[in-house]
C-alpha cells in the first residue's frame, strides 16, 4: 500500500526500519488542516523582506499594504463579496465575536436568534451577552441536525436584532438551509450572520445571492496558517467595534495587521476557489466510500448528521457499546488521527452539545467518531481506515460489558437520565 510512511532514522536494520515505520493518516481536517506548500511560499517573503507595517507611508509600508489588498481581494472572491466588505481578524472565533457583539452593542438591547448546535465561538458569545441583559433563543434541530427555517420565522419578534445560524456544523457536518433563513431575516429587516468556517472552500458561497449580512471565515480550516480569519460585513451593515485602538480595519479591528498570516490566508482562499472543482469531487468520492463501507460492515454502526445535506469531507459515526476516547486512542495507535464527541474526551466531561441536540442519549453519544477528510487524503488511506476500524471497534466491544446486552444498555441509559 502506498501510504505516507514516517521512518525513525535511528533504527538499524531494514527489518527494524520496516517495523518502526508507522503509517499515519490524518482524518481530522475539521480541527485544522496542513498549510498548503504554495501558501507557505507566498508567506515567507513577508517575514524577512517585506516586513513593513501596512500603515506606514514608506515603500515598506506600501508593500505590506499592497499584499493585504491582494489578499483581501482573494478572500472576497471566495464568497462573492467586495474587497471593502472584508475585515481581517485573528480567526474564526474572533470573527464570530466581532459580528455578534458588534451588532448587539450597536443596538444596545434586544433579542438574538441562534441554534443549539453552533460552535462555542457563537454559543458562548451569546451566553455572555445574556449575562449582559440581551435575550437569546437557541433553536432546536431535528435528528439530522437541521434548523428549520419555519422555526426561525416563528421565533422572530419586534425586538429581534440578529439571527446567527452556522452554514455547516463542525461536528456532524450538516449543512443548514441558510439561504431560506437569510431570506426570512432580510424580509424582516434583521441582520443575518453565518459562521462559514467549516463550509468555505467546500460548499459554494455567494453572499449576494444568499442574502448574507455577516459571515465568519477561518484560515486554518482551508490550508492556510492558524490565527488568521476574516469577517465579511455587507456594505451598510453597522457594527460597534469590540477591539479599540489605532483604527485598523476600518476601526473595527485595531492592531497592526498580521501581514504574513493575511497573505497566507489570501493565497489559501485563492487556491480553495481554484481547486474546488477538483477537491470537492475528490472529497465526495472518499467520503462516499468511507460512509457506506463503515455502516455496512460494522454491526450496529450508524451515521450521525444528514445523509445528503452534509459537508463533502465529513463522516460522523456512532458505534453501540464503545466509548469514543478509547476509540480515538486505539485508532491513533494505528496511525489514524480522528476525533470524538464523547464525554470522556471533553474537558468538562460532558457529551457534545451537538450530539445531545440531535436527540442522542449520553450512552449513544459516547460511541461517536468524527472522520474529516482533506484534499491530500488518498483512496489507499481510506482503504486502510476501512481495514483498521472494524478491528478496533471489535476489540473495544470485547472489553465492553454493554455489547450485545440491550437490557444493560437500557438500564444504564435510564440511570444516566436520572442524574
Amino acid at each position: 500500500m502506498n501510504l505516507r510512511i514516517i521512518k525513525d532514522e535511528k533504527m538499524g536494520s531494514v527489518e527494524e526500519k520496516m517495523k518502526s515505520a508507522k503509517k499515519r493518516v490524518y482524518l481530522d481536517h475539521a480541527a485544522t488542516t496542513p498549510v498548503d506548500p504554495a501558501v507557505v511560499d507566498a508567506m515567507l517573503p513577508y517575514f524577512t523582506r517585506f516586513y513593513g507595517n501596512a500603515s506606514s507611508l514608506h515603500a515598506y509600508g506600501r508593500e505590506a499594504h499592497n499584499a493585504m489588498d491582494e489578499a483581501r481581494k482573494n478572500v472576497a472572491e471566495l464568497i462573492n463579496a467586495e474587497s471593502d466588505e472584508i475585515i481581517f481578524t485573528a480567526g474564526g472565533t474572533e470573527s464570530d465575536n466581532i459580528a455578534i457583539k458588534g451588532i448587539a452593542y450597536k443596538k444596545k438591547k434586544g433579542y438574538i436568534i441562534t441554534s443549539s448546535i453552533e460552535h462555542p465561538a457563537v454559543l458562548e458569545t451569546c451566553r455572555a451577552l445574556e449575562r449582559e441583559g440581551f435575550e437569546v433563543t437557541y433553536l432546536p434541530v431535528d435528528r439530522f441536525g437541521t434548523v428549520y427555517p419555519s422555526n426561525v420565522e416563528s421565533a422572530i419578534n419586534d425586538e429581534t436584532i440578529l439571527i446567527s445560524i452556522m452554514h455547516a456544523n463542525n461536528e456532524i457536518g450538516t449543512i443548514q438551509p441558510i439561504k431560506e433563513i437569510a431570506k426570512i431575516a432580510s424580509e424582516s429587516g434583521i441582520p443575518f450572520h453565518t459562521d462559514a468556517v467549516q463550509s468555505a472552500g467546500k460548499v459554494p458561497i455567494d453572499v449576494r445571492r444568499m442574502n448574507i449580512d455577516l459571515l465568519s471565515l477561518s484560515s486554518h480550516k482551508i490550508y492556510g496558517p492558524k490565527g488568521v480569519g476574516a469577517l465579511y460585513i455587507r456594505k451598510g451593515v453597522r457594527i460597534e467595534p469590540i477591539i479599540h485602538g489605532g483604527g485598523h480595519e476600518r476601526g473595527l479591528r485595531s492592531s497592526t495587521e498580521n501581514i504574513p498570516g493575511i497573505v497566507g490566508f489570501g493565497k489559501a482562499c485563492e487556491l480553495a476557489k481554484k481547486r474546488m472543482d477538483k477537491d470537492v469531487p475528490h472529497l465526495f468520492k472518499l467520503r462516499d466510500t468511507l460512509i457506506p463501507n463503515t455502516v455496512n460492515t460494522i454491526e450496529e454502526s450508524y451515521l450521525n448528521g444528514h445523509p445528503k445535506e452534509r459537508l463533502p469531507n465529513n463522516a460522523h459515526f456512532r458505534f453501540t457499546a464503545i466509548e469514543g476516547e478509547s476509540l480515538i486512542m486505539s485508532l491513533d495507535d494505528e496511525g489514524i488521527a480522528a476525533s470524538t464527541g464523547s464525554a470522556c474526551s471533553s474537558k468538562k466531561l460532558e457529551p457534545s452539545h451537538v450530539l445531545m441536540a440531535i436527540g442522542l442519549n449520553e450512552v449513544e453519544a459516547h460511541g461517536s467518531l468524527r472522520l474529516t477528510l482533506g484534499r491530500e487524503n488518498t483512496d489507499e488511506e481510506v482503504e486502510y481506515v476501512l481495514e483498521v476500524l472494524p478491528e478496533v471497534v471489535e476489540r473495544l466491544r470485547e472489553i465492553s460489558p454493554l455489547w450485545k446486552k440491550e437490557f444493560e444498555i437500557e438500564r444504564w441509559r435510564k440511570e444516566m437520565e436520572k442524574r
Partner: protein, 132 residues
C-alpha cells in the same frame, strides 16, 4: 497525556473478559461521564482466587480496571477492600487529574463485587449502582 503504563494496559489489558460462575459480580457506573465497569471475583477461602473485568469507558478506565484486577488477585478479601483509587493511580504512574474519577470506578467496582459475594444474593443487581 497518559503514562506508558496506562497505554500498555489499555492496549493489552490483563484479566479481561466475563467470568464463568463468579462468586461475586459488581457493576458500577460513573455518573460523571457515563461509563460502566463490571468486576467479577472468584473466592477461595478468604482469598480472591481470580478477578476479571469488562469496561465501557475511556483508555484510563480500561487501564484502571485492568490494574485493579492485578492488584486484587491473590489478596485476602480484607486486604482487597483496602485498595484505594490512589493505589490504582499510583501503580499506573499517575493519571491526568481529570481522569482520577476513572480509578475511583475501578476501586468501587471491586468493592461492589466483594459486597455482592458477601450478600450472596442476586449479586449483580445487589451491587449495581452509582458510587457516591
Amino acid at each position: 497525556m497518559y503514562s506508558e503504563k496506562v497505554m500498555e494496559l489499555f492496549k493489552n489489558p490483563r484479566n479481561m473478559g466475563e467470568m464463568e460462575n463468579p462468586d461475586g459480580v459488581g457493576t458500577v457506573g460513573n455518573p460523571i461521564c457515563g461509563d460502566l465497569m463490571t468486576i467479577y471475583i472468584k473466592v477461595d477461602g478468604d482469598r480472591l482466587k481470580d478477578v476479571k473485568f469488562k469496561t465501557f469507558g475511556c483508555a484510563a478506565a480500561i487501564a484502571t480496571s485492568s490494574m485493579i484486577t492485578e492488584l486484587a488477585k491473590g489478596k485476602t478479601i480484607a486486604d482487597a477492600l483496602k485498595i484505594t483509587r490512589d493505589d490504582v493511580a499510583e501503580e499506573l504512574d499517575g493519571l491526568p487529574p481529570i481522569k482520577m474519577h476513572c480509578s475511583n470506578l475501578a476501586a468501587d467496582g471491586l468493592h461492589a463485587a466483594i459486597e455482592g459475594y458477601k450478600r450472596k444474593c442476586d449479586v449483580e443487581r445487589a451491587s449495581y449502582g452509582m458510587p457516591g
